[in-house]
């Protein structure tokens, strides 16, 4: 069936399944969470960045990568700033500078503002911040490489409605931003300052009004295009669906109660799982009421296996390495030691470069798009 679908061109084979990119990126992210070695973390960021540089398109979602990188930098700086101002839990002997300490009342004991800044504390903060930053860069890479909307299209049919809601919300965000810009420009044209809190507050209401109008228009368009058509199903099936879904949800509730309370320790988990299974069966049966078909779903081909495997491998190898070589993956802070580049974990991280060589780069010519027209020009 699948082969035939690929042959008749009803599946998308030219591009990589977006899920593969996410597995790869999350693998790198997991790896990043296992180490504080700045050299390894930098290597991870470089690997993710290299693949993004070679494989991202010019689509709007790809541009979010820069935003993620900026966010990562901000997180790093913020982490260090906190360590400087609020002090660090790490004891240290190498004082770099002593800031004037803010005297605090006795009830704020344990909180310190200002005071000694130690080299150990700073290094610890940098390591910690770098870990978070690397995680963010990995998520950003996934966002840049895989169209998030396409990923949601791969959801099972019963969750289709959820997917649509998310996609609509995602296309709404840029519209909202454009609306705010347009209305702030209009304020300027009326001779009002366009900056400041008051300026923004007066723009909020018209923006929300516009968003509401747009969603009503979109709902009308979707209705007129057949959204929510339902197929004829036998009443028996309909009743079974309702029964299964309701019963399943009740089971989930009871199961959760069981798990959370002390008395129900024995029956909690089984009831929870049984409820989940029944609810899923209801959802699946409910999916039959919807006559929807799917246009060119992404095929999960050998390349997708390779890409996701490379991500999983990086994660698994670093988890193992963290067990065997904890000192290399977590360079000492007290006392301060220079981090070294452990050979095997480094090689493992380089595995993450596999997609750069196995996945064909997007055709820049075909996908190169001019930036979106400005709000004024769009109409």
């Amino acid at each position: 069936m699948r082969t035939r679908a690929i042959q008749t061109g009803t599946m998308r084979t030219g591009t990589l399944h977006p899920g593969a990119w996410w597995v790869w990126a999350l693998g790198l992210g997991t790896a990043a969470s296992r180490t504080t070695n700045p050299l390894l973390l930098t290597l991870l960021v470089v690997v993710a960045g290299y693949v993004v540089a070679t494989h991202r398109t010019d689509a709007p979602w790809s541009r979010s990568y820069t935003a993620f990188v900026k966010l990562a930098l901000a997180v790093l700086l913020l982490r260090v700033a906190f360590a400087v101002v609020l002090g660090s839990p790490v004891p240290g002997s190498h004082t770099i500078v002593t800031l004037p300490e803010l005297p605090l009342p006795h009830w704020a004991q344990g909180v310190r503002v200002g005071g000694r800044v130690t080299a150990e504390g700073l290094v610890f903060a940098v390591y910690d911040g770098l870990k978070l930053a690397a995680l963010l860069v990995c998520v950003g890479a996934a966002n840049a490489l895989a169209n998030p909307a396409r990923l949601l299209k791969s959801l099972p049919a019963a969750l289709y409605e959820v997917g649509v809601a998310v996609v609509v919300a995602m296309t709404f965000a840029p519209h909202l931003v454009a609306d705010v810009q347009r209305l702030r420009a209009a304020r300027r044209l009326r001779g009002r300052p366009d900056r400041g809190l008051r300026g923004l507050a007066q723009v909020v209401l018209p923006v929300l009004e516009g968003a509401l109008e747009r969603s009503v228009a979109l709902a009308a368009a979707m209705d007129a295009r057949g959204y929510g058509r339902s197929a004829e199903v036998a009443p028996a099936v309909r009743r079974t669906t309702a029964g299964l879904t309701l019963g399943g949800l009740l089971g989930v509730c009871a199961g959760t109660y069981g798990v959370l309370t002390a008395e129900g320790g024995g029956y909690g988990l089984p009831v929870l799982f049984a409820g989940l299974a029944v609810a899923l069966a209801g959802l699946w049966l409910g999916g039959r009421r919807s006559p929807r078909t799917r246009y060119r779903p992404d095929a999960w081909g050998p390349r997708a296996w390779l890409v996701s495997a490379s991500g999983v491998a990086v994660a698994a190898l670093l988890v193992v390495a963290a067990e065997y070589e904890p000192s290399a993956l977590h360079p000492g802070v007290v006392p301060l030691t220079a981090p070294t580049l452990p050979l095997w974990p480094m090689a493992a991280i380089l595995l993450g470069l596999l997609p750069a060589f196995t996945v064909p780069a997007p055709l820049k010519g075909a996908l190169t798009a001019p930036p979106p027209p400005t709000p004024e020009e769009q109409a």
Binding site: A5, T8, G9, T10, M11, P60, W61, N147, A149, K153, V164, V167, V168, T171, P174, H175, R182, A185, A186, R187, R188, L189, R190, G191, P193, D194, Q202, L205, P206, R214, A217, L218, A220, A221, M222, D223, A224, R225, G226, Y227, R229, A231, P291, R292, T293, R294, Y295, R296, A366, L367, A369, P370, P371, P372, P373, T374, E376, E377, Q378, A379
Partner: protein, 582 residues
């Protein structure tokens, strides 16, 4: 194919039905144009075909609408989705997905078509609409014409037998509009699709219509007939029909080609009259003598002049010789240059039309003049000031911009409150600054509104105004600060001929009072009526700048209908011809 049987629609809370006694039938495979002035219920009639009226909008529909034998009373819009494709006024509000190919497939997915059928139809539609090169492009990055074609394509893929379009070309430049109309014609000819479409710009579409359904005025019965029959009685008509009526041609010509064939006599008659350039500056191309003195006024005259509550806009006395000077202006957006070394000098009392494709940089240039866009290189001076560095409060007295969506400018609940708000910043400036430089006395804006829009109640909500009234209110709000330079971005979008004529009158008298006007427009007829000078932009560069008659006549897509009919003589508008013959 579409049958209306004595249909009237009353919206909730409305005293009167919006449309009454509509009774007509659209046969299969015809392109029917729904015409009429604003506010007669064209959109309501279109909505009734797809079932959105009344299922989605609410209200009561009396009578019966059937499409391909299905009664819209018993069929919801989604159950008509396989026979009716609807494209609304704003294509952006129509898109559910984010790339071209997915958007084309969306409707078919909802209908549950087999995957191989979907793939085949997507490919066919990509070819039919010339979208093949754009298939993977995110919709947000497309131009207006491309978006409109994607919107049409997205309702075509389920192979509807009826296509309903509301103003498909009003936001498009002339070339993009032809592109879309060519596609529609192909659908009617090759696939036998039935098309019902409403459009204000009749000059663009009338020649494609098999029949015209006219709603002459609110509540009046619908008239259905061949285009030339209907145009003979219609209150809305394109310039070619106007010229035909003037010259007494029967049957009325509907295309430039028909009119040209009959225009021999008229051309001879006109040959003998004064050449258009001699008495009418609009066609002659001479830049008018500035009606305001170019030397700075004596300062002593200013205050007396301004304290009086003259309702007519009075120019800022400190205005220098040129209200705006743009030199080698370059604006970059990311890696793209929106404007490249553009130069433009605006003299007092001059009306300039900025024309060019969607995305050619017209709005960016207006934005730079109004201080909304920061130049990357080059200089912009408006009334001697650098617009993007000048405080908004100061800038409104030098330049006023009415944006494409005039509603953005209005945020009060009533017309009166809007006017009070418009006068406020200037009044405050005066009380704080001591010496009054200029200022709107309280009531200035309201006086302007009364002058421009007689009969508007103080308590009216700006949202309840018609498209044209809202534009005029926005114009009055901007004029309250008496800027010597007035900028308008696409002012005629959604206006019918009557509203357009009123706008032309208003802008002409403003120009006569010494205001300089720069308007960005796709409407060649408007440019012909108003502009002394036309500046053509392409790809961010000025490619032509000269007297309206010269620039416009030389370009096939920007020439107004009268110019095409009477070429090589340089007549631009029916008004000129009428005056010459009188």
């Amino acid at each position: 194919m579409i049958r209306f049987e004595d249909v009237s629609v009353t919206y909730d809370g409305a005293a009167e039905p919006t449309v009454r006694g509509v009774d007509f039938e659209v046969p299969e495979g015809e392109l029917v144009l729904l015409a009429g002035p604003s506010g007669v219920g064209k959109s309501t009639v279109l909505g009734a075909v797809s079932g959105l009226v009344p299922h989605f909008t609410g209200g009561t529909l009396r009578g019966r609408v059937t499409v391909a034998g299905r009664d819209t009373r018993t069929h919801k819009p989604r159950e008509l989705a396989d026979v009716v494709g609807t494209v609304g006024q704003d294509p952006l509000a129509h898109f559910v997905t984010d790339t071209v190919e997915d958007e084309l497939a969306y409707g078919m997915e909802s209908l549950g078509l087999a995957p191989d059928v979907m793939r085949r139809r997507v490919e066919e539609t990509l070819d039919l609409l010339g979208l093949a090169a754009l298939r993977d492009r995110p919709i947000a990055t497309l131009s207006g014409g491309q978006q409109q074609r994607v919107a049409i394509g997205s309702v075509l893929t389920p192979h509807p037998r009826v296509l309903v379009l509301d103003e498909p070309t009003s936001a498009l430049d002339p070339a993009a509009a032809e592109e879309v109309l060519a596609v529609l014609q192909r659908l009617v000819h090759d696939l036998g699709t039935t098309v019902l479409m409403a459009e204000h710009r009749l000059e663009r579409v009338i020649q494609y219509a098999d029949q015209v359904a006219l709603l002459p005025s609110p509540g009046a019965p619908l008239v259905l007939g061949t285009p030339s029959e209907v145009m003979a009685v219609s209150p809305v008509y394109p310039p070619v029909v106007d010229l035909g009526r003037l010259a007494g041609w029967t049957p009325l010509p509907l295309t430039v080609r028909d009119a040209r064939r009959r225009a021999g006599l008229l051309r001879e008659r006109l040959e003998r009259t004064t050449a258009p350039g001699a008495e009418d500056v609009r066609a002659g191309g001479t830049v008018p003598e500035p009606p305001v003195p170019t030397a700075p006024r004596k300062p002593s005259r200013g205050p007396r002049f301004l304290r009086g509550r003259t309702p007519s806009p009075v120019l800022n006395p400190s205005a220098p010789a040129h209200p705006a000077v743009v030199d080698a202006l370059t604006v970059r957006r990311g890696r793209v240059e929106a404007l490249r070394r553009v130069g433009l000098t605006v003299t007092p009392g001059e009306t300039i039309a900025l024309m060019g494709r969607n995305g050619a940089g017209k709005s960016t240039l207006l934005g730079a003049l109004a201080g909304l866009v920061e130049p990357s290189a080059g200089t912009v001076r408006v009334g001697g000031a650098v617009p993007h560095r000048t405080s908004p409060r100061d800038l409104v007295r030098r330049v006023g911009l009415v944006p494409q969506e005039p509603r953005d400018l209005l945020y009060a609940d009533t017309v009166a409150a809007e006017c009070a708000a418009a006068d406020l910043p200037h009044a405050r400036l005066r009380s704080r600054g001591g010496t009054p430089i200029t200022g709107a006395a309280p009531g200035t804006c309201r006086a302007l509104v009364s002058g421009l829009l007689p009969g508007i109640d103080d308590d009216t909500h700006p949202r309840d105004l018609s498209e044209g009234q809202r534009l005029t209110l926005a114009l009055a709000v901007i004029l309250a600060a008496r800027p010597p330079l007035l900028l308008l971005d696409e002012p005629t979008r959604g206006l019918d001929y009557a509203a357009k004529a009123r706008l032309v009158g208003v802008l002409r008298s403003l120009a006569a009072e010494g205001h300089s006007i720069v308007l960005a427009t796709h409407d060649v007829e408007l440019a012909a009526e108003l502009a002394h000078r036309v500046v053509l932009l392409a790809d961010g560069e000025v490619i032509a700048d000269g007297p309206a008659a010269d620039v416009v006549v030389a370009s096939p897509s920007y020439a107004p209908q009268v110019a095409k009919i009477l070429a090589p003589q340089k007549w631009l508008t029916v008004t000129q011809v009428r005056k010459a013959l009188a």
